[in-house]
Assembly symmetry: C2
Homo-oligomer: 271 residues x 2
């Protein structure tokens, strides 16, 4: 079975032109089949603020009202995605930018309002707005682009964190979830490595100590890390996505620094 | 040879949800191979204004400074393109949104400053900014999506008026030129009809009289129409694109109302 690397890059990396260029250089020279999935939340927040829209966040998650949906559609699907595609083309990488709507690769439904426990312990019913929870991904169509069965050239997908509901609506989907969805969808055709790249060196035992990377996390140690409050906030959905990916047949999941997209270091997630 | 329809839709059509829905309904039910090319200038102007950027226009053409490049990348590549793709998917049309950077389908170079004659007759050297004049289009790659030679499903491209220079830069390219570029690039594989759809019924002899559609224009009558001032402004580059398309082997070019994408009426352009 052919191997493929699904690289998720987010956080501060895609918003800083220096780190983005470094990431792109590395991705371009990475051998073999590959897919890039990107975030862009900070750019969206910035453009939203410039437009006079307020970014409402609850428990580290953005509320996507109609204005914010417009902003993320522009910023993720247009600004961030097309800049990455053009930069990769300049390196000779035959990239195509995709959202879940393009070729119907990832379909979702609008999230129902959910009970959320706040930092103060109180519970509230929260409507996250135009947020899409994934229903299915069309791995065959993605694989047909990446590894064509005819004389067509191989294409490298660059995936923005947007999905659609099949009724004409674009929905905002968490970029880590998007990467896990793409990785899982490709397991039928490939042996998949999913690498979450960001500005830190991995999951840290001590947020203030760069040398405290936890080399591996399994289901048991994950429970303990959560209980001890070492793993919290946005790292929890990332790790949940990592474990789900392993359960669904993804071969290897690593959380590492964006300068290490070959995942030679960082935190390895194991069942 | 298979037939294909390249439909350009612009002007007010894509910015009004009622007219856009009508256009999408028609495009979805149109039989055979097809490509949609869209504009979005008015949305870009509106978003730019909301962001506090001023849209500078010279002779009906937008000056694309760095801020405006950011806006058109977001609005054309993200907002307008993805809305159309999601709407087409809802009608069962397997659309993919593309800019010229995606799969390197249309490459351009930044326009050199040009001498432009102003309305008052004076001439000025104008730098149009980040505007891309097309160098080449990869018709084979487009055709391979539209009419795959293997068991892959056929894909319908939805093209945004953005190109790239191969050095990592997105450039703003006139949507009429984009449509002509796509039409010309497909002549090797298809018998191409290029239809420019907008909010009027065709090229009008009298702008104020909806019944004054000129049924056909050829090279000779075009010269006369320009001399008489009947054809002016943005219609001139549109017609120039139409004649260039015919010269390059496009079979039929029609300028018509967006409710007539089968081009049964409107103005036929002939050599």
């Amino acid at each position: 079975m052919d191997k493929i690397n699904v690289i998720k890059v987010g956080g501060a990396v895609v918003e800083d032109s220096t780190s983005l260029n470094e990431l792109i250089n590395q991705f371009a020279t990475m051998p073999g089949y590959k897919v890039l999935v990107h975030g862009g939340g900070r750019s969206a927040t910035k453009i939203a603020a410039q437009l006079g829209f307020e970014s409402q966040m609850i428990g580290g998650r953005r509320i996507t009202d109609e204005n914010m949906l417009q902003v993320v559609t522009m910023v993720y699907g247009g600004l961030v995605n097309k800049r990455i595609v053009a930069a990769l083309q300049a390196k000779g990488v035959n990239a195509v930018g995709l959202t879940g709507a393009d070729m119907d690769i990832i379909r979702s439904h609008k999230r129902e309002p959910k009970m959320v426990t706040m930092d103060d312990g109180t519970k509230h019913l929260v409507d996250f707005g135009f947020v899409g929870d994934v229903d299915y991904a069309n791995g065959n169509r993605l694989a047909a682009l990446i590894k064509p069965t005819n004389e067509n050239e191989a294409i490298i997908p660059v995936v923005a964190p947007l999905t659609h509901d099949g009724k004409g609506n674009i929905l905002n989907t968490n970029a880590d979830t998007m990467a896990a969805t793409v990785a899982k969808a490709l397991t039928e055709e490939f042996e998949v490595t999913l690498t979450y790249c960001f500005e830190k060196s991995g999951v840290m035992a001590d947020a203030d100590d760069d040398d405290s990377v936890i080399p591996s996390i399994n289901t048991q140690s994950y429970a303990q890390l959560k209980e001890d409050g070492i793993v919290s906030g946005g790292m929890i959905p990332k790790l949940d996505n990592a474990f789900e990916s392993l359960d669904a047949g993804v071969k290897r999941v690593v959380i590492t620094h964006f300068m290490d997209i070959l995942a030679t270091q960082g935190t390895v997630i194991e069942k």
